[in-house]
Symmetry: C2
Subunit: 433 residues, 2 copies
């Protein structure tokens, strides 16, 4: 390495799994990194409120317990935010940009809550704010949308955005077990948190989808406007029915640009076993893009974990370091955050086929009542499955419906539940076409 290689001094705020992985990658791959970006990246400071034991401190780095001191330090050129949360983290990122220091963040929640404000600040300061690590750490999908397909008009972005939920679905499919034991196994293996709500109820996938949709369509997406259903309502019966239909079940976040506006939701889908979606097993994620010109693209990789996410942080750091080496920093565009158009949620999304599973008491007139409600909503039944030899007091009953819009299908399911014909809330799966 030439002695004139410029040095970029990195300060890391938040020293958990991702922060530590980032420091470790920068140290162990230093020569490769310097060769590739023309600058050395050195961790000069780390901050954790509770301090950092000496044996965990990256060589040469100063330890701070107050992030304000780290951000203000003349020894820090660039700030990595890996502390998580949306309160303090927002202050860290703003303060760094105000202090004219570029920022890399791995914080999906921060971006979902305050991305617009922070990316606009970055633009005013003409500084990069990298967030490749914030969505699907092990997949460079932010770069792919922002740069790879920038000349195309995207029609849809969808995929498997939560590794925990996908792990649980994979186990339910492979072992024929119910949701609860599959969740317990995921928790035992560290793939699910003690409070799994965020992952299994679809909120994590929803927040990622909101970011992807912003980038893909340039619209302001309010997370709470996204219809979100998780996987808690699924049972072993549903996987068994899925198998009969040569399919499996995946939790999908999908945003499609339609004439009437954006159609956007998170919910479980029934996907054919021959499809690529069905091949995405365990903690892996996959993001599909559909462009007018580029056709279908798919990106697959690990969704989370310290090391994949650390690699994504380092990829942003290297891009910024290259600009440092060239003596010139500039903001990167992030359409959808910088100057978003207002979002119009599609009131009448395109019709799609559905799987509806009911648990009913098997007594005369039940099927007639359910069929009547579907008919009232102008929903055509495609296929009815009822396993023989089941408990007549709790009879699972599956109907697949011909294509109909999501709002109409939701209304029909609600009406069936309200009619007293069912013992449990009905379960809806969108059937992938």
């Amino acid at each position: 390495m030439s002695t004139t290689t410029p040095k970029v001094r990195v300060g890391i705020v938040g020293f958990g799994t991702v922060g530590r992985a980032t420091a470790e990658i920068l140290a162990s791959h230093a020569p490769d990194i310097a060769e590739r970006c023309g600058a050395t990246l050195e961790v000069s400071a780390v901050c954790r409120r509770t301090g950092i034991p000496d044996d965990q401190r990256p060589g040469g780095a100063r330890v701070y317990t107050d992030w304000r001191e780290l951000v203000a330090s003349p020894d820090v050129d660039l700030v990595v935010e890996t502390m998580g949360g949306t309160g303090e983290a927002r202050l860290v990122v703003s303060a760094a940009l105000e202090a004219r220091k570029p920022v890399v963040t791995a914080n999906k929640n921060l971006l979902a809550a305050h991305g617009e404000e922070l990316l606009q600040l970055a633009a005013r300061q003409n500084l990069p704010l990298g967030f490749e690590a914030a969505v699907a750490g092990g997949i460079p999908v932010i770069r792919a949308i922002a740069e790879g397909t920038a000349g195309d008009r995207l029609r849809a972005v969808y995929g498997i955005l939560n590794g925990t939920a996908n792990y649980i679905l994979t186990r339910m499919d492979a072992d024929g077990v119910e949701f609860a034991p599959a969740l317990a196994e995921a928790q035992r293996l560290g793939y699910a948190e003690a409070d799994p709500t965020f992952d299994v109820d679809g909120f994590d996938a929803r927040d990622k989808l909101a970011i992807l949709a912003r980038l893909a369509f340039g619209v302001r997406v309010d997370n709470t406007a996204i219809h979100t259903t998780g996987i808690r309502g699924l049972s072993a019966i549903d996987m068994a029915y899925a198998r009969r239909l040569n399919s499996t079940i995946r939790l999908i976040g999908a945003a499609e640009s339609t004439e009437g506006g954006l159609s956007i939701s998170v919910r479980p889908w029934l996907v054919n076993r021959r499809s690529m979606l069905a091949k995405v097993d365990g903690v892996y994620n996959a993001v599909f893009l559909e462009g007018e010109r580029v056709g279908t693209q798919m990106f697959y990789g690990r969704g989370a974990g310290g090391e994949p996410t650390g690699i994504a942080v380092v990829s942003d750091l290297m891009e910024i370091a290259r600009d440092f080496a060239a003596g010139h920093l500039s903001a990167k565009t992030a359409a959808g955050f910088r100057q978003p158009r207002a979002l119009r949620i599609c009131a009448e999304p395109p019709p799609v086929p559905w799987y509806l599973r009911l648990i009913i008491v098997d007594k005369p007139g039940m099927l007639a009542r359910i069929a009547g409600i579907l008919a009232e909503h102008e929903i055509n039944i495609d296929y009815v499955v009822q396993e023989p030899h089941q408990n007549k007091q709790r009879l699972p009953f599956v109907i697949t419906a011909e294509p109909v819009t999501e709002p109409r299908m939701l209304q029909a399911a609600a009406a069936i539940d309200a009619s007293g014909a069912t013992l449990e809330p009905s379960l809806l799966l969108r059937v992938a076409s």
Copy 2:
């Protein structure tokens, strides 16, 4: 759009499918592109030796028949090379860089033959030379390797790199037809050239693999050192056997970093029908990366075609335009081209399982002779399949072998062919593990 948006004037040399698609995308998506990269991209000149009819000329562009005039024109800030070939194209790219103009090329052959020289020239001039479009146009894999995984150490890069061959294999599998009619159909649909050698004999996949391996491992790869076998030797029998083994056949280019050096080859593989490789149908391509930290990543999309390739050219143009807007151009690193290490081809690659198909005359002692040759090479037979009721004069006969290195398996197959036991050259498929 503000009136102060900087304008970047693009000259396109070679106005075939990709050149025209590039011009068309720049024109029809102009507002989106300007918003995303902070500069307008305008085609100010096009060059084709035979001239361009007025109705095909991009609005406002001057038409040249001599590329030297286009490159020298003060109205051209940036040169796009989409003429193909390695002779004249090399001169165009060099001349543009010498004239201090950044270049974007879609030319895989040029990069394979002269990439090192041209990227070193770009580095000396401190100018970008973009080539996202040169490998798998519809997949932003160059960016993914160069930037997305730059902080990782890659162990392997492999995939389905030729859409023509994959289309033929998909037809052979779906319709049970022989190679020749599947090729004829591909030719009729425009997916295969009149002379299909480059695609079906694996040379196109080999050239792409050489570029990917350079980027992934930073080594100088001589294309002719890559063991390359295409799909011409495959017959309907092989697809039928593959189906019996719950598998299909794909042409795979694979480069793996091993202790003994790089293991690199292009050849057909037997892949399990449940694998992601088997899901890549028709003219689609897929590239897999395996990194120490990031795990497995997969990128899927259309491999060729004017529009996907045009989008890739435009993605490079936008990246450069952003630098123009910022008032600063710089070379991008392309490890493996800039300062490549010498390649060491692995003499003793890791053992893998094999499928060996022989056509023999069914007479006494044949199986003993073949089994004897395999035993001499210390190859253990895993499984033997022989369909009943076949023509005894031309009996297809399949052996799967336990893991053994490629050189030893090639030697054994050659010895069997030389022994007179077979009526046709034997066919080898690597079995994906």
